[in-house]
């Protein structure tokens, strides 16, 4: 499902014009980005949590080139689905 289709679906379900839905979606993503960039953890009930995790620096050894590379630390977005969602997904026939 693409972004467009998602907006179409939401507009159908909520009976509001797509433009409004698009605005709301933009706002939603902005807030999520803002909160995540600050380092907050966003919890959507029955859906999952979005949070930022720090991957520590590490040394990778390449067997082929016989070289070691120091990979710097980085921050990544992690999504953990809720158990309810997982059950729902796995309950499908």
């Amino acid at each position: 499902m693409s972004h467009k289709e998602l907006i179409d679906n939401i507009s159908l379900k909520m009976n509001i014009p797509k433009s409004e839905v698009m605005e709301m979606m933009a706002l939603f993503t902005n807030v999520v980005k803002e909160r995540l960039s600050v380092g907050d953890k966003i919890d959507f009930p029955n859906f999952g949590t979005l949070q930022v995790l720090k991957k520590e620096e590490k040394i990778i050894y390449d067997e082929i080139t016989k070289t070691k590379t120091l990979v710097p630390p980085r921050l990544v977005v992690d999504y953990q689905e809720s158990n309810i969602l997982k059950q729902k997904i796995n309950a499908k026939p």
Binding site: M1, S2, H3, L6, N9, I10, K13, M14, I16, V21, E23, M24, M25, A26, L27, F28, T29, N30, V31, V32, K33, R35, L36, S37, V38, G39, D40, K41, I42, D43, F44, P45, N46, F47, G48, T49, L50, V52, K54, K66, T67, K68, T69, L70, V71, P72, P73, R74, L75, V76, V77, D78, Y79, E81, L85, K86, K88, I89, N90, K92
Partner: protein
Amino acid sequence: MNGNENNMTISIDDFVGLLVKKSNVSEQLVEEFVKVLLATIEDALIVGDTVKVKGLGEFESQWNESKEIFDPQTQQFTTISGDYNVMFRPAESLRALINEPFAHLEPIILNVPNFKPTKIGLSSDKDTHSGGKKDANEPLKVFQDQAKEIKDLLYEIGSMKPIAGQQNTSSEAKSDISNPVKNENDKSSDISVTKVDVEQKATTITRTDVVNEPTETSISEEKNQIKLDKLPQQNISVRMDLVGTVVDDKEITASEDDMSFDDFDVVCDFSKKEPLQNDIPSPLFTTIETNRTDGLPENDTLPTSTSVSLTVDVEKTLAESTLSTIKESDSIVEEEPMETNDVATNEVHTLYGTEDDCQQEEKNEEEISILEDVEEEIDLVAENTGVSSSDNFLEITEELPPQKKYTDEGVVYTIDTEDDLEASIDDDDMIETNPIDEQNDIEEKENEAAEENRKNRFWLYYIIGASVIFGILVFLFSPKLLQQMNNKKKATKFDYIADSVSEALKIQQIKDSIYELKLEEEKEENQKMGSDTLIENERMDTTDTLVPAALREFDSTSSSTSKEQISTTSKNESTAETNIFSVPRTYDEVVDVITFNRGMNMSVLARKYYGHTDFWVYIYEANRLAIKDPNNIPVGTKLKIPKMDKRIVDPNSKLSIAYALELKKKYLR
């Protein structure tokens, strides 16, 4: 940003509150929106679809395969069934935003490869000037390998002359040069033999002498006493080599006297005492390295090859010294060494005589001087061994002159260098000074080289002249050739295009036009029913018969002649084509007016009204003002369906379809 203490979990209510703050929408609506959004994503995930949220990322349900896990407590394998898992793949923008604090960091390649020194002992010592640095400096490895190869080459080149001279002389020397592995075995066997011999014949004294003798110190002492240069020492060492080898051969072949065995043993002992690291000393190097006898104990820093050769030479000198001692003690029979020496000298004469015939006369003169030198040298040796007997000297001197013949070059060299005794104390590289023989050789070689150079130059001039002439020819004839080439290319291109595209179309057009002309003329005939029409009919029949024949020819052979025929025939019919198609179309009459809706197509309309989809171009022509882009007609535009001539819009006529296609190409450009 990363402050974990400031991090907090935002619940859905807080999130909605934030949304409401930033927008002017009611809280209810925002709440509903969030719920609906999450629900739709959920639904899509349940169905197995991926949901892409712009600016955020992609949610995807992923199947995890079932796997077996071994439980060490229960000692059993437990299978975990596969399940679906929701995976979130953040968008690039989000990823960049989140990782902003570490964005400036880049992976660094650490140049600390795990170096494993594979070569140990012999090989490692061989390769490097400094073995310790080798491990640390990997790039040097390449140079070391190259150096090794060069060394081997030098050794091979250098080994040619001496080995030729000493083919029959020294078995051990050969084995040392050829394979060091064998040497070890030989040496081990020799050791046992020598031990036995030593025990039997009480030559331990000689051995102890040899062992205890400081080889280099003795030589240095010699220097101090007699002011001998290093170069004479070289000669000594070289002679020693020869003596040792000859003696070895003697004893190996004859094996009659105890003395001979003892000598052999002594030589073997030296070889034993050498560390196994000693590489095959190249004969080239032996002469060079004898110079460095002074610095023997410091040879760890020097290249291994030099050190090895040094040790060998020194040992051989020692061997001779022991020889002398043994001879003193046991009162050797002089005949045997003399015989062997004679044999050796004969060999040497045969070998060297071919090379330097003129120098044989000089040898005799040299031998006299050599005898004197040898006496001095023997004195030195005797001093080292602690023996001073004039009788023995005589014995040895008798032996030595023939030995000198082995080292013709060396002898001459000593004569030259003895003049510079004091001057060349520190110059170890004086070996490079060429003797007279070598000078002559060099002159000859130079002459040969000059001749070769002349020949080479002649060839060079010849080649250059030929190339210049060739270049001029090419320059002169190249424009013509280029023109020819271009003409060929054009011709080929033209043929290809004509064959591929235009011919097929033309054939179809011609066929159709003929068919249409026929129809027209039939109509005219029906209308007029005159006598003149009969004549025309006959004419037409003739043309009809002619044209298919031409067409057949054209089909069969797409040659230029057939093309000409077609062009001539088609000219007759082209008037009819132009009558139909070249007339400017006026779309005054309109069959229908249609408002363009979704799902509509001009081609569909064309099929509906004209019977073929390709005739949409006429609709487009009629509505050029209303339609900007034929592929993208806005909904609601009113399209006029023009009334067209049936000959132009004939779905059965290939000509009209071809014309429509041409128009289509024109408009869709």
